[in-house]
């Protein structure tokens, strides 16, 4: 009986979806993008279209292949799903096209705040917002009699208490894997400390300062309460630790909260007590130590007009309000009409309300990110002091920026 109801409901949903906007395209669509539930839902939405071939290659390694896959003429990928960091690489290489004409023709239903414009030209259509924020175990905090921490200093104090009371040996979690993740955690902390990444108006990195050192020292203090393997833990591994019940507090992506509340690979206690809260501040600052992100899609430059139109139509269809149902709504903070925030979205909304900083869309930010990822692990292992590590980052960045022509 139950199964019948589910089947009926889903077929109704399908009919409803089709009724809203049947998607008929004439052209080739091939999407490359990151791999997490919300993006997979968008990929599946695009594949509902008929009349043309719709392929999607969604992988965590998307950044390694999207530029190469869009440089050829005609480009292999007709669209890349990107975020505010990764769109920069595509614009630097000039492989995505302005969408103004396509928006005028096919995109009347898109909302103004979904359109990402650079220098007055629409370069991407955003469909979701994301941010890292606090995730905590309500039962553990209750046990030690603490409120959810509002600052990283509170988080450290709570972690010390949890360890002291013998509840958990390593109560903190974090995506501190050497490379992109570690660099992102530094970015968060540095922004929270009130730091600026570059000397204003230039491509000269300036992170070897008081705020940079304070940010690193805080990360080091936090890591002492983390599983000793923390330099190998990305978001996936950190989520697994959380689900195994080994972690009580962590800074995690809003888009990853949904899976934490599934019992598969976890226990009922963990699932019932997984709560989220606003991102934390650090060092007495008021800017939260996090960054705001949007995820959106682009259209390749080196493809025929038919393929571009087909790609635009398929992806516009993929993010139409009919996408939202009980399963997909909690996956992300959707920027789609008709989205009602779920409890899973409170962290991201809190980040936005606290005036969190969007991840900078500077052409050279990616190089600094790579340099941070490569050079900070020595400090985290205690092999060098914070100032040396930051000087190394600046030197590594300068060498790369000179090679790319950003610095003379």
């Amino acid at each position: 009986m139950f199964l019948k109801k589910v089947a009926l409901a889903s077929s109704l949903a399908l009919i409803a979806g089709n009724a809203y906007a049947a998607c008929e395209i004439s052209g080739r669509v091939n999407i490359v993008g990151n791999e997490f539930p919300a993006i997979q839902a968008v990929g599946a939405g695009a594949q509902e279209c008929t009349g043309g071939e719709v392929e999607a290659n969604l992988t965590a390694d998307h950044q390694k292949i999207n530029v190469a896959g869009m440089t050829g003429n005609p480009a292999e990928y007709t669209s890349a799903i990107v975020a505010n960091s990764s769109i920069v690489a595509l614009m630097n290489e000039d492989v995505i096209r302005p969408l103004d004409d396509l928006v005028a023709q096919y995109g009347q239903d898109l909302k103004r705040n979904q359109l990402i414009t650079v220098d007055g030209k629409i370069m991407a259509v955003a469909f979701m917002a994301n941010a890292q924020h606090l995730v905590y175990r309500a039962d553990v905090l209750e046990q030690i009699g603490a409120e959810p921490p509002a600052s990283y200093e509170d988080m450290l104090a709570a972690a010390a208490q949890i360890r002291e009371q013998g509840i958990m040996e390593y109560p903190l979690g974090g995506a501190y894997k050497a490379g992109w993740n570690l660099a992102q955690e530094f970015n968060n902390m540095y922004i929270g400390m009130g730091g600026e990444f570059f000397t204003t108006g230039t491509a000269e990195a300036s992170i070897n300062n008081e705020q940079g050192i304070a940010a690193l020292e805080m990360m080091k203090s936090l890591s002492e309460y983390m599983n000793p393997d923390f330099l190998t833990h990305d978001s996936n591994a950190t989520s697994a630790e959380w689900k195994a019940g080994n972690v009580a507090l962590m800074n995690m992506w809003g888009s990853r909260v949904g899976p934490l509340r599934e019992t598969e690979g976890s226990s009922q206690v963990v699932v019932d007590n997984t709560m989220i809260s606003a991102p934390m501040t650090v060092g007495g600052g008021s800017t939260p130590a996090t960054t705001l992100w949007w995820d959106g899609w682009t259209v390749a430059k080196n493809i025929s007009d038919e393929d571009a139109a087909a790609t635009f139509q398929a992806l516009t269809h993929a993010i139409n309000p009919a996408l939202l149902n009980d399963e997909t709504t909690p996956m992300a903070v959707w920027l789609i009409d008709g989205y009602e925030p779920t409890p899973a979205a409170t962290g991201v909304f809190a980040a936005a309300n606290m005036n969190a900083v969007p991840y900078p869309m500077l052409p050279f930010q990616g190089l600094l990110h790579s340099a941070l990822g490569a050079e900070l692990s020595d400090f985290m292992q205690g092999k060098e002091d914070a100032a040396t590590a930051l000087a190394d980052v600046e030197a590594a960045y300068s060498a790369a920026a000179r090679e790319k022509g950003y610095l003379q």
Binding site: N92, I116, D229, M361, P363, G405
Partner: protein, 341 residues
């Protein structure tokens, strides 16, 4: 052979080598000498879900014009080779002048990406290669003395490590040695140290990678030596036995000299392979503790902003490194060949 016959005989091979070896190398060398143009910036207004901001952006049209004028980019000569990401001559010079001791100088060297990578790569190459040759030899000798009914089965199982794709093999081991995995927990129990973690210490990570390297490559040495053992001259071995040589003496004075050319061959191939160590570093997520030249290339190409000239330069340095590493073996082979001829 007549010159004309020789020419037609060698032509297909030479063409293939030119197309698939010489041309790509030339292309990589060219790319390593050029860098992208200076970027033309402009300040633009970016708008999105979080409001509008003024931001620096690249002037695509101006950059396109520069690119059309000189498609290869700016000529940098050896600039990239000498910068901090590669040979880092300035930094090495500074470190030498400001050194307190040789140890201090080596410490500063290990802080530079190229020398750090070389430190691990050379350690890895020169521990793994002899160990895998020794292990492969021992396996070959043992399998050779087994009853023939057992041989097939044992050979199959001995080859398994080589059959498993390196990336998959290292990933599986990575999970097993996790402090919550089977091997990790076993080691903690064995050493009664609940905080023991193979992934958190540089020394243990290196040991782990080296053990993996030997495990993965020993079957190759085994197969080659096992084939060699099948051609062992029975007469010599029998005369040695009649002379009263022990098993050890037979191995030392008959078997090993017979297999020596194969040892050279295995050493040659494995030195080359191990110098390009890559998959285990990725599979074991070990980049915080160990890097190699191949990993640097991968990292340059995989970042949000690709560093093509840097990757090309590291590739050329890898080729030079392999040539230096192989030169003693090649010289030796050449000498053997000349004296025989």
């Amino acid at each position: 052979m007549k010159h004309k016959t020789f020419f037609w005989f060698i032509l297909p091979t030479a063409t293939a080598m030119l197309l698939f070896i010489a041309l790509p190398i030339m292309s990589v060398v060219t790319q390593s000498l050029f860098t992208p143009h200076e970027q033309v910036f402009k300040v633009v207004e970016n708008c999105g879900p979080f409001g509008c901001t003024e931001s620096t952006s690249i002037d695509a049209e101006a950059t396109e014009a520069l690119r059309a004028e000189a498609p290869l980019g700016r000529f940098a000569g050896l600039g990239i080779y000498l910068d901090r990401g590669h040979l880092a001559v300035t930094e090495v010079g500074d470190a030498w002048r400001n050194r307190d001791s040789i140890g201090d100088f080596l410490g500063s060297l290990a802080n530079l990406p190229f020398y750090r990578a070389m430190g691990f790569t050379l350690t890895y190459t020169f521990t793994v290669t002899p160990l895998l040759i020794a292990l492969g030899f021992v396996i070959a000798i043992s399998v050779n003395s087994l009853h023939r009914h057992l041989k097939g089965l044992v050979i199959f199982f001995s080859l398994l490590p080589m059959i498993v794709t390196p990336l998959i093999g290292s990933l599986i081991l990575f999970w097993m040695i996790d402090s919550r995995g089977v091997i990790g927990t076993g080691l903690q129990w064995l050493f009664s140290d609940p905080d023991l973690s193979l992934k958190a210490s540089t020394g243990l990570t290196w040991v782990m990678l080296i053990v993996y390297g030997v495990w993965h490559a020993a079957p190759f040495a085994f197969v080659v030596f096992y084939a060699g053992l099948q051609t062992l001259p029975k007469d010599t071995l029998e005369s040695a036995m009649i002379d009263g040589a022990t098993r050890w003496q037979q191995t030392k004075y008959v078997v090993i000299p017979h297999l020596m050319p194969l040892v050279t061959f295995v050493a040659l191939i494995q030195l080359m392979d191990n110098f390009r160590v890559f998959e285990p570093i990725v599979g074991f997520n070990a980049e915080a503790h160990a890097t190699s030249l191949s990993w640097i290339i991968f990292n340059d190409l995989g970042g949000e902003t690709r560093l093509l000239s840097s990757a090309a330069t590291t590739s050329v340095l890898t080729i030079i490194g392999v040539s230096i590493l192989l030169s003693p073996v090649l010289v030796r082979t050449w000498r053997d060949f000349s004296t025989k001829g």
